[in-house]
């Protein structure tokens, strides 16, 4: 992508900026329609219709909301720490945006082909944590501070099972690069990591059950990392108003929303890449069979986004199905169940990959 734009424009800075615009557009469009989808999904699950009046089945509702949000007055509480209060939403959003730099949307559409892809995603998400703490503290509101404390405790705890599962996958694949991990799972869905990877043999069949466990643990812990129900105690509406962004309004609040939806798709993308073949098609490419090579990257983009959206849909589905966990239950789930299982899984996958 970068190389293509560089050849086209001939300017490093401009090409770099243009590459960065692509994931930004994807996040913005996804956030707009993700919020609409969330409202429709919740409505239909509760036997309602949801937004219906703005456009066909209300699809312009979030656009209208955005227009409203941009015009709102920017209110800052008198006792708030103004500098940090203004930086915090930017920091949270840039953390979730930065993760997109290494996510391959198709074999041609990827920002940076760095070797340390997945490690980078794990590290850069710590910016979000710092931003949340900043938001909670600077608002000078007890609900905000409590929400921030809960958020950080939760994210830090759930980073451990996430990192353990990622570690076991990296051990199996022998690379940290998200693009290479995607490439290894090519040609059919049977080669995806959830079905034991591309190497056919005894170890493939032995791996399948442990891959299912790994995918499940990764899904649960990433769900907690993006603060979605049933792990939404940082912003629990019935207890903390809105958690760490209680005091925010207008577009600054909007940036937290954008970051949340950006994160939802980012973690779905990570699960898709590690377990569900990344951008690879499950049934082979139409472009290859009719001999039109340039169609293949577009098909890959379609498959990637389709798989990602499926997982996002599951996240929404869970949000409107499960009740919220209590704080102590949340910590119990992480430290007493997920981490030991993830460790055991790591050891077993290690032994199997040695066979």
């Amino acid at each position: 992508m970068y190389q293509f734009l560089y050849d086209l424009i001939g300017n490093e800075i401009l090409a770099g900026l243009l590459v960065a615009v692509v994931p930004l557009t994807i996040i913005l469009v996804f956030a707009l329609f993700g919020i609409w989808l969330e409202r429709k999904v919740s409505a239909h699950m509760q036997d309602r219709l949801g937004p219906m009046r703005t456009g066909w089945h209300g699809w312009l509702q979030t656009v209208a909301d955005l227009m409203k949000m941009l015009q709102k007055e920017d209110i800052i509480a008198t006792d708030a720490d103004k500098t940090l209060y203004n930086i915090a939403p930017v920091l949270v959003f840039s953390g979730s945006f930065a993760a997109y730099a290494v996510i391959p949307f198709s074999s041609k559409l990827l920002g940076s082909e760095v070797e340390i892809g997945i490690f980078y995603v794990l590290a850069i998400s710590s910016l979000v944590v710092a931003g949340i703490l900043m938001a909670g503290w600077s608002a000078n509101n007890k609900y905000s501070l409590l929400g921030a404390m809960r958020a950080v405790a939760q994210i830090i705890s759930y980073e451990i099972p996430t990192a353990l599962i990622v570690l076991s996958m990296v051990m199996l694949m022998g690379t940290l690069s998200l693009d290479k991990i995607s490439q290894m799972q090519t040609s059919s869905f049977w080669n995806w990591n959830i079905f034991g990877g591309a190497v056919f043999g005894l170890s493939k069949f032995l791996l399948i059950p442990f891959m299912f466990i790994a995918a499940l643990i990764l899904f649960i812990s990433t769900l907690a990392e993006v603060n979605r129900v049933p792990f939404d105690i940082p912003e629990a509406e019935s207890e903390l108003v809105a958690g760490y962004f209680t005091e925010y309004c207008g577009m600054k609040w909007g940036m937290f929303m954008l970051a949340e939806y950006g994160n939802m798709f980012a973690v779905s993308a990570i699960i898709v890449i590690l377990f569900f073949g990344g951008y690879q098609s499950p049934i082979g490419y139409f472009g290859n069979s009719i001999g039109v090579q340039w169609l293949v990257p577009f098909e890959q983009g379609f498959w990637f986004i389709a798989k990602g959206l499926t997982l996002v849909f599951v996240q929404m589905w869970l949000r409107w199905t499960l009740p919220r966990l209590r704080v102590d239950q949340l910590m119990t789930v992480c430290w007493k169940y997920l981490i030991p299982y993830a460790f055991l899984n790591l050891i077993i996958i290690g032994i199997i990959s040695l066979l």
Binding site: E12, I13, D81, T83, L84, V114, E115, I116, F119, Y120, L122, A123, I124, S125, S126, L127, V129, A130, L133, M134, W137, L145, M149, V152, I156, E159, L176
Partner: protein
């Protein structure tokens, strides 16, 4: 001046300015947050030197771990934000002499050392080599560090443990 030089100076400016704010600001929470930008700037400089693994480790450990712990400590300590931090100057003369000597030593080393200069070949991937080195040449140090961290962890857990009545 090429493109990467400009990026280097941006990162250097971020690092130095935020480090300056860390030591001069009167609010301890602000200090901790400025430290975030210092760590981030240093990570950027590591990337420009071709040490991507070190850069990401820097962010993961310092920003994701140490800084967050620091902030937790600062925020959970009761009324720490109201404490007057002394940022004034005492013992001007000895401090000036000591830092002057240190500065002189550092500059002298920088100027007089015969730096080996090789054509800059940015390694494509450093992760694999680091992994190999850690588990072959430096395995003893690596394991010892692991044990040290484990000891610290167990110690912290046993201090924090609440005794059953």
């Amino acid at each position: 001046m090429n493109f990467y030089d400009i990026i280097f100076y941006i990162f250097a400016a971020i690092t130095l300015l935020s480090a300056l704010f860390v030591v001069t600001t009167r609010n301890i929470v602000h200090s901790a947050f400025y430290l975030l930008f210092t760590f981030f700037g240093v990570a950027g400089i590591y990337v420009l030197l071709g040490a991507d693994f070190i850069a990401i480790s820097q962010i993961l450990i310092y920003v994701g771990g140490i800084l967050i712990l620091l902030l937790f400590g600062v925020m959970l300590t009761n009324k720490i934000t109201n404490v007057e931090i002394r940022t004034g100057t005492v013992h001007m003369l000895p401090a000036a002499i000591a830092s002057g000597i240190f500065m002189g030593a550092v500059v002298a080393v920088m100027v007089w050392t015969e730096w080996k200069s090789e054509p800059s070949v940015t390694p494509l991937t450093t992760t694999k080599d680091i992994g190999h080195l850690l588990l072959t040449d430096y395995v003893l140090i690596f394991e010892l560090l692991g044990i040290l961290l484990l000891v610290a962890l167990i110690g912290a857990a046993s201090i924090a443990r609440r005794d059953k009545e």
